[in-house]
Every structure is written in structure tokens, then in C-alpha cells.
């Protein structure tokens, strides 16, 4: 008789430090509120090639504070590249050797199994294994020891592992998004997981907050605040809550955009009359004017190699997207369809430009293939704003109005798979997708 020995788990990852979830400070004397924004993920659409995967319920999950398998499945489905296969009714864990024929019959190409066990010190032991059920191959697994507070993060890390193993690309499920809510005269800047859950308030203000922009190191946010009765730009350290005024020049200061190496920001200033673009050291100091134009120049964003800045200008009479070398010079127009194109976002891989176009009175998200110039309208809503790419260039988060309420949505670049991150209360706007986290 042959005993099948499972290969030992190939890697054990140390649990993520709990200190990453340090308390975030809030502005003024407002008391700290618990993370309230509850999101539900609703995924719609059908993609062309979706990998069918079964995520079995983790052994022990029924009595654990987080449903690890459900978080993983929602992450993978939201990416648009996976289709969940029903895995209910089976008791499996990371040591189980799956019945490959059974899973192929269910239509799955891959299977993930795992377990979650309470440790004596109150932490959780989470383990998983990924299987290729077409070839009957063990694709490896990991183990983690984490606090209750980090259970969602572990689920996201597992989703990243699965995503990377099966697509060959980096997963974005452990990244964070920033966004702003407004409830009456109360504005808050939130930081949440990429699935919209676990939101924590970084700033609370009676005056508007707009244009949050993650620094490339993922530890700081720049944003525009009206707390001193005019728009000024702050740089805010997320973990400590410490913030400093970066731009408070005469007139309005807005639209901060970080250079990819984090050393500089492009901003819109009106200090010399009109709204023009300037470059500023991340440490502050005197700005350097980027260009001189006869119209409005605003909404800068850097390409990933730092060499090009895309921006909005109405120097030709109506707002269009242009690009210019980050060392200045003459600008080149990029958008030619329609008479109102704003809010450019460039994908980290440099291949795509997302922007908002006014079409028949509505505002719609467009995605341009920069190699060919082809533009696709990717939504069926008419109040889209503030597109931002995921760091793997595969998804875009944006704000829109659905059913009369403001909502954050993610979409694949072809517009085929969308997920709504539905907030419980308050108007939601201005999302910005954070970078890959170092871990």
C-alpha cells in the first residue's frame, strides 16, 4: 500500500506586523470614531477569459472572526480574471489531497484549501495550499500567525499569492485606497483596504478635502484642505497623523501629484495669476514653474518613469489632456475626441490613459490605449469622476452615481467586470489607489 505524503509547505511567511494598523490621528478635537464605512462587494459582468477557481471554506472558519475564504473569493472575482466555483459542503484543509477528477467535473481549474486555528496566545494560525486540479499539482502554500486585527490582511495576502501563481502578475489585494466622504458639513478622508473594507479616518474636517494623492512609499498622503478658508496642500503621514503644510502660496494651491521617486510633487498654483503648474520638492520650499500658458493648466500626473507629466489645459479653448516633459518645454495634446476631457490617470505600466470626458452633458470614464490612440467608453453611468489605476495596471477605481447615490466602483480596463464598493453613509468621492505595500 502506498501512503501519499504531502510535500511540506514550501514557504512560511512571518505574520505581518500589527503595528501597521497603528491608530490614525484625526484633525481638530473630534473624538476618534470606530471604522464605520461598511462596504459590500457586488461584482457584475462577464469576462472573456476567467480562470475558474474553487476556494474551499477554511477549516475552522465557521467560528473565526473573519471568513477568510469569502474574502479571498471576493478579491479574485473583483479582479475580473477569476470565476468562483462552488466549493460548499466539503471539509478540506491545507493538508487535504484533493480528488482531482471531482474538481474537474465541477469545472474548476484550481482549488485553494486552508485552515484557521486559534493559538494559545490569542493569535490565529492561518494556513493554505493552492492546487492545480488540471495537472493535479501542488502549487505551494503558506502559513501565518496573526492577530485578529490582521486577519483580513492575511486573506488579502493569500489572494495575492493565488493571483500571482495563476496569472503571473502581482496582486493588488493587499493595497489600500484613500477617498473622501461628505456628510452635511462634515468631511472625512478615509483609508481602506482595496476591497473597501476596514476603513479608518485619517482626517476629519468641517471644510472640504479634495484630491488625495498617495505618495509612492504608501506611508503618506498629499491632499487639498480648505480648513484655513482657502485651498492649501498638506502632506500627511498616515501612521502618525503628523502633517505639514506643503503649499500655502498666495491664492489657491491644489492638485498635488507625486513624482514616482517621491522626491517632488507637481501642483497647481495661482500665485502668479491664473492656474498654472509648478514643481515643488516634497520637503517644501520654493516652487519651480513648469510651463507658461495662456489658459488653465491643472490636474498633473507623472508617468511611472517620471519623465512625462500628463495634465489638463484649456489653452486651446476647452479642457483637454496634454503631456509635457517633466523638465518643462512644449506640451503635446493627447485627447482629440470631444470638447471636455479632464482628470487624467496614467497606468503604472505606461500603456493606458484613463480620463473623464463630457459626453452629452454627462461625465464618462474613458480608457485610451496609448499605443494606438483608441478610446473606449467603459461605463454606463453618467457622473463618473476621479479615475485611479491599481498598481498592477489591471483595474481602475472611480467615483460615480449609481441609483442616485455616490459610490466607488472598480472596473477592468475593458469595462467588462465591475464591482461596486457601496458605502453605508455619506457621499463618497475622490478615490486614489495606493501603491504596492512593502512586506
Amino acid at each position: 500500500m502506498t501512503i501519499d505524503r504531502l510535500p511540506s509547505l514550501t514557504t512560511w511567511a512571518a505574520g505581518p506586523r500589527a503595528s501597521r494598523r497603528a491608530m490614525l490621528a484625526t484633525l481638530a478635537a473630534t473624538p476618534a470614531l470606530p471604522a464605520l464605512a461598511q462596504f459590500r462587494v457586488e461584482v457584475t459582468g462577464v469576462g472573456l477569459t476567467q480562470l475558474p477557481i474553487a476556494i474551499a471554506q477554511f477549516k475552522g472558519e465557521g467560528s473565526a472572526p473573519q471568513k477568510i475564504s469569502a474574502i479571498i473569493q471576493a478579491d479574485l472575482e473583483r479582479s475580473g480574471q477569476f470565476r468562483g466555483v462552488d466549493a460548499s459542503g466539503l471539509a478540506l484543509d491545507e493538508t487535504s489531497r484533493p480528488d482531482v477528477a471531482q474538481w474537474r467535473q465541477k469545472g474548476a481549474d484550481s482549488l485553494a484549501t486552508g485552515s484557521i486555528t486559534r493559538l494559545a496566545d490569542g493569535r490565529w494560525d492561518v494556513r493554505f495550499r493552492l492546487w492545480d486540479v488540471v495537472k493535479g499539482q501542488d502549487l505551494g502554500g503558506q502559513g501565518f500567525a496573526v492577530t485578529t486585527g490582521d486577519l483580513r490582511l492575511v486573506a488579502h495576502r493569500i489572494a495575492d499569492y493565488i493571483y500571482e501563481k495563476l496569472t503571473g502578475e502581482k496582486g493588488i489585494f493587499s493595497t489600500r485606497i484613500a477617498y473622501v466622504t461628505k456628510a452635511g458639513a462634515h468631511y472625512r478622508l478615509w483609508i481602506a483596504d482595496a476591497d473597501g473594507e476596514n476603513a479608518q479616518s485619517a482626517l476629519s474636517s468641517p471644510e472640504p478635502i479634495i484630491s488625495p494623492a498617495w505618495a509612492p512609499n504608501g506611508t503618506q498622503l498629499a491632499y487639498v484642505s480648505f480648513e484655513s478658508r482657502k485651498p492649501v496642500v498638506y502632506v500627511h503621514d498616515v501612521a502618525s497623523g503628523h502633517r505639514r503644510l506643503l503649499a500655502n502660496f498666495r491664492g489657491s494651491n491644489s492638485a498635488p501629484a507625486w513624482s514616482p521617486d517621491g522626491s517632488r510633487l507637481a501642483v497647481t498654483l495661482s500665485r502668479d495669476g491664473g492656474s498654472q503648474l509648478y514643481l515643488l520638492s516634497a520637503q517644501g520650499g520654493e516652487p519651480r514653474r513648469l510651463m507658461q500658458s495662456s489658459g488653465i493648466d491643472t490636474e498633473p500626473c507623472f508617468s511611472s518613469d517620471g519623465r512625462t507629466i500628463y495634465f489638463v489645459s484649456d489653452r486651446g479653448g476647452a479642457p483637454q489632456v496634454y503631456k509635457v516633459s517633466s523638465s518643462g518645454g512644449s506640451a503635446e495634446r493627447v485627447t482629440f475626441t470631444g470638447n471636455y476631457n479632464i482628470s487624467p490617470a496614467i497606468s503604472p505600466d505606461g500603456k493606458w490613459l484613463a480620463y473623464i470626458s463630457r459626453v452629452g452633458g454627462g461625465f464618462k470614464l474613458q480608457v485610451m490605449d496609448l499605443a494606438t490612440g483608441t478610446v473606449n467608453s467603459v461605463t454606463d453611468t453618467t457622473a463618473d469622476e476621479s479615475p485611479s489605476f491599481a498598481p498592477n495596471s489591471r483595474l481602475i477605481v472611480y467615483a460615480t452615481i449609481q441609483g442616485g447615490r455616490e459610490a466607488l466602483m472598480t472596473t477592468t480596463l475593458d469595462g467588462k467586470i465591475k464591482a461596486r464598493l457601496a458605502g453605508a453613509s455619506g457621499d463618497i468621492r475622490e478615490p486614489d489607489w495606493g501603491p504596492f505595500q512593502k512586506h
Binding site: 472640504p208 489657491s252 491644489s254 491664473g274 492656474s275 488653465i296 489638463v312
Partner: protein, 175 residues
Amino acid sequence: MLTIKRLSLALAVTALVAGCSSGVKLDDKPVDGSLSSQGAGASGQGQSGVSGVDLTGSAASKAGPQGVSRIVYFDFDSYSVKADAQPQIEAHAKFIKANPAAKVQLEGHTDERGGREYNLALGQKRAEAVRRSLGLLGVNDAQVEAVSYGKEKPAAEGHSEDAYAQNRRVEINYR
């Protein structure tokens, strides 16, 4: 008595000037009050030499020229001051020139249609149009700052043309 009268006037003027330039609350009037009561107490009834100075007038001056609207309205897609706003602008210009310590913030606004940052820039254009109009009337530019709220602070909520018209504006605020 004459000396007290001159002293109280001088002190009142100092308080007035101090109030205008440093943002001290002008309705406290501690000095004037104590002087008056001291004068009255010391000399008994019939103390007619002290003239009470009412500083609430200068508090009102922080609101700019009396009886003139602080709000300049703009037509749709327009960033120049309308001809019928000229008298209003002139009244403000006259006031600012008469009050060299006055600091004015012009706040530009747009209606809700369009992107936030682009609308911030359009609001800025409106604020600067008012600033230029004031400048043409001789107002010292150092007393004026033009800023924008874009579409972030509507005066009227809603999506009607009427709401939009109320939101396309520049507010003239004296600081």
C-alpha cells in the same frame, strides 16, 4: 476734563486702529468702558467732558461697505464681471481704498457641473476677474487675495438652473 476727553478720544482711536489691523474683537471696548466709569465715579454726576466712543461701528466695517452686496454673480461659462455689477464693484473699491488696513479675500465659485480641480481653476478665474476690476479702480493689489472654492461650497443645493445661477459667484470677504 479736557485732558480726560482728549485722552479718551486718543485711546478710542488707538483701539479702533488696533482693532482693524490685528483682528481684536471690537465690541469688547474695555478701555473706553473703564475710563467712562472712572471719570463718572471720580467727578460724580454732571461729568459731561467724556465722550463715549461706540466701537460697534468699526465692527460693522469688517463687513465692508454698508448696503452693498458682497456677492458678484456670473453667467454660465462666463469669467468676466458683468456690466451691471460695476456699481457694486465700485462701492467695494471705494471702501477698500478708504481702509488701507482692510484685507479682502475674493472667493470664486462655480456651479456643480464638471470636475473638481478644473472647477477650482474656473472659480479662480472668476475671483481674479473681480480682483482685476478692483485693480482698475485703483485698489492696492496687496490688500486683495483671490482664491477659489470651485464647486465645493454651493450657496444653493440642487440641480436646477436657479441653483446653478446662485452658485456661479465671487464672494467678497473682509478679513
